[in-house]
């Protein structure tokens, strides 16, 4: 990173601190309506009390579990289907039309149906998250396979590598960066999905916490929920990025 870029990133952090500072002072002086926008200190207090009572951790854990189950199964299926369909042209032809019809359906439009089919409990929420996580990973995996270097595949043929070896040594590694791009898209979608699903029908989870505090007009708690989502989403993406740099080591060398 150049010196100029470093200074700019430091300024970026300072900017947020300045905004929070102004926000705090504005709330204390009465420039900002605290019903609409709680002061940072009120939010911090709400955060402390929710954390202290253990209820915030409980809501996080519930949402986290839903996301993990839905995300892992949805993204896992996405990668699998992406690989299978892009390496077997006849299957792709067979399924491409059905997939093209299902894909544009917003997952939340299916939520009421999922409730009907899988119950109002965990099943329907996990299904929505799985549905949301499936598409970005599926499409990215497919694209990754399609973008694999034909020259390298031919090389593997010239060296008489079998089908499985060719997959493991050429196709999979060249698809990995695409798979990670899909996984990162999917995780943010999955978090968005769980919150909305919990707002619509749940009695626990971060989404429920936000919706419930709206009913109770507890603006500071609503902010606590929103900020929690931001922190978790940011952390998840960061972890995936670190994992990507580790696994796709050759990709980072190029930069």
């Amino acid at each position: 990173m150049s010196k100029k870029h470093k200074i700019l990133s430091v300024c970026g952090v300072l900017l947020i601190i300045l905004i929070i500072l102004y926000w705090q002072i504005g709330s204390e002086r009465g420039w900002i309506n605290s019903i609409l926008l709680s002061s940072p200190s009120d939010i911090a207090a709400s955060f402390r009390s929710l954390w202290g009572s253990g209820s915030l951790q409980k809501h996080i854990l519930v949402s986290f579990k839903r996301v993990m189950i839905g995300y892992v199964s949805g993204a896992g299926l996405g990668i699998m289907f992406g690989f299978i369909l892009s390496t077997m042209p006849s299957l792709e032809k067979l399924f491409s039309f059905s997939l093209a019809i299902i894909r544009p359906i917003p997952a939340l439009a299916l939520f009421p149906l999922f409730i009907l089919w899988f119950g109002i409990g965990e099943g329907s929420k996990i299904m929505v998250i799985a549905f949301m996580s499936f598409w970005p990973t599926f499409l990215n995996t497919e694209e990754g396979v399609r973008q694999a270097d034909k020259n390298l595949l031919e090389l593997a043929d010239a060296l008489q590598k079998g089908r499985v070896t060719k997959m493991a040594t050429v196709l999979l590694p060249s698809t990995l960066p695409y798979i990670f791009a899909g996984l990162r898209l999917a995780i943010s979608r999955a978090w968005g999905g769980v919150v909305v699903a919990e707002m619509l029908a749940a009695s626990s989870g971060i989404g429920f916490l936000i919706e419930y505090s709206r009913d109770m007009s507890q603006t500071a708690t609503m902010f606590t929920g929103v900020i929690t989502i931001a922190i978790i989403g940011f952390t998840a993406d960061l972890l995936l990025r670190i994992l990507q740099d580790r696994i796709c080591y050759w990709h980072t060398e190029v930069k």
Partner: protein, 261 residues
């Protein structure tokens, strides 16, 4: 009995199916290579020389005719043939070492394989770069890895498909000496395809000239250079002149021929 590493190319014809109908790419190509011989094929792009190489490698099937290697008919890729492509085609996620071992024959003993990779790294002079990724190597070094990988398979026949076309002039001459050195030591039957006339003369014991539409052999010129293979010798110049004349009719105003290439 035919030698183990003799190559017989007989009556090869290749048609490509185009939307406008069949296109004859190669017509009645006949070349016989003695075991251990180095033959260069030179011609402009589109004369079918790369197609011919792909047929010998077993990557493409000819419309007609056959290729025998060691008396056996080529039918698909085989471990007898090693091919060096124009691009180095290294796996970006593999180190030098692993890229070279990628070319080892299947089922080779692990220790034996490791030993072979080590000696190949010696041969191509990449000591100290065993763990480097392709992205950390220069173009010339990447080419050395590709050469070592091709040699790892112990090919009886080596096919070079314009292997140095993408390299700068200095690296290119360097690599040509490298190939010559390896060929002299291992005595692998080698077929080089190139559009570089100097390269064809410098490396080949015979130069096969091809012309396009359809691809046919125009002339075969035996090369007999002095021991040092000097690129500036009178003999070298004489061959250069002969080939230029054969291709272009005269050795003047080359630009008019190359203008649309």
């Amino acid at each position: 009995m035919a030698g183990m590493n003799e190559v017989n190319i007989s009556h090869i014809r290749q048609d490509f199916l185009m939307p406008t109908g069949g296109l004859e790419v190669l017509r009645d190509i006949n070349i016989d290579l003695r075991g251990g011989e180095f033959v260069s094929i030179v011609g402009e792009s589109g004369c079918g020389k790369s197609t011919l190489l792909r047929i010998i490698a077993g990557l493409d099937k000819p419309t007609d005719g056959e290729v025998l290697i060691g008396g056996e008919k080529v039918n698909g890729v085989s471990s007898k043939v090693g091919i060096l492509f124009q691009e180095s085609r290294l796996l970006p996620w593999y180190s030098t070492e692993k890229n070279i071992s990628y070319g080892l024959p299947r089922g080779m003993d692990r220790n034996e394989g490791r030993e072979r990779v080590r000696s190949l790294i010696d041969t191509v002079g990449l000591n100290g770069f065993e763990k480097a990724l392709p992205s950390q190597l220069s173009g010339g070094m990447q080419k050395r890895v590709a050469i070592a990988r091709t040699l790892a398979g112990h090919p009886k026949v080596l096919l070079l498909d314009e292997p140095f076309a993408a390299l700068d002039a200095f690296t290119k001459m360097n690599m040509q000496d490298e190939i010559l050195r390896i060929w002299e030591r291992e005595k692998i039957t080698t077929l080089l395809v190139t559009h570089d006339i100097d390269e064809a003369i410098y490396l080949g014991e015979r130069v096969v000239m091809m012309s396009p539409k359809p691809g046919v052999i125009k002339k075969v010129i035996p090369i007999d250079l002095p021991e040092d293979h000097s690129r500036t010798s009178d003999e070298f110049d004489a061959y250069r002149r002969e080939i230029f004349k054969e291709f272009f009719g005269s050795d003047k105003r080359m630009s008019q021929w190359f203008s649309d290439d």
